[in-house]
Symmetry: C2
Subunit: 149 residues, 2 copies
Amino acid sequence: MSSSDNELSSGSPTAEDLLDRLRASGARVTAARRAVIQALVDGGPHPTAEDLAAKVVISHPDVHRSSVYRTLDALAEIGVVSHVHLGHGSAVYHLSDDDDLHLLCRLCGAVDHIPSTAMAAAARSIEQETGFAIRPGHYALSGLCERCK
Amino acid sequence: MSSSDNELSSGSPTAEDLLDRLRASGARVTAARRAVIQALVDGGPHPTAEDLAAKVVISHPDVHRSSVYRTLDALAEIGVVSHVHLGHGSAVYHLSDDDDLHLLCRLCGAVDHIPSTAMAAAARSIEQETGFAIRPGHYALSGLCERCK
DNA sequence: ATATGTGCAAACGATTTGCAACCCT
DNA sequence: AGGGTTGCAAATCGTTTGCACATAT
């Protein structure tokens, strides 16, 4: 099943979209960045930097881990990717327009994600009471997934 | 005979409480553990392991960092402390019956905390929709604090 | 041409671990 | 006595950085 939903701000952007955005920001498009972006777009939903590096290295054996990190940084700077810290180990990366909240199962480690609107009401009342404006998508809530409950 | 009162959410436990619970779990009470627990009870609200180690070392220069980590592990195992990963660096520890949600300002790094009841409604509806049971207190939500907004 | 990005290796900070000695129970 | 705990140092893991070289624009 191939999903060909190429939309700029609400579907999944293609690799070309991301490359365009990089270019538009004044950054350069290099083989390493192409490869990282490809891995990000093609790959599973919650890759760590190392996952991406491993995928990249298959087609581009010369691309170094540090370039993966630097590319992810560059993409984060222009707002197209975010990373979520899952606590125990590495951070997982995802395209920023996945405007979702991450749920981490503290038992099996599964990562679930839900639209951030699920918390909109809570976020609003928390902001009213405390002044703190929750911005989801950068960190994960932990809990128990359905199976582990 | 050890105290058999269960103080559920009525006040912060004392160092002795925690030592009792350690002992009750079959663990031993040592000088290092006493010192870590004292630092945890006496200290500020969001100590990192290193903060605690620094505090401990003042009165017990011989207590090693690794023992601080191991003590925190032991306390976590019996459920009396939890740690929250704030993403960029170290985890912060707190007594588990601080049943609160942590809010991390992504700009200034300030940590705010609010009662987890603020999210109870959202947590309930998320559980109904997705089956995922949010357990706050282990990770932080990120956002912008009042000053940085 | 030149700023930007790269590979590499080494530095880094946080945490963990193997091991012999130690000391609580 | 005996095994949980410790201190130590070295290992590990994820990520960052300094540097000389390569390359996209």
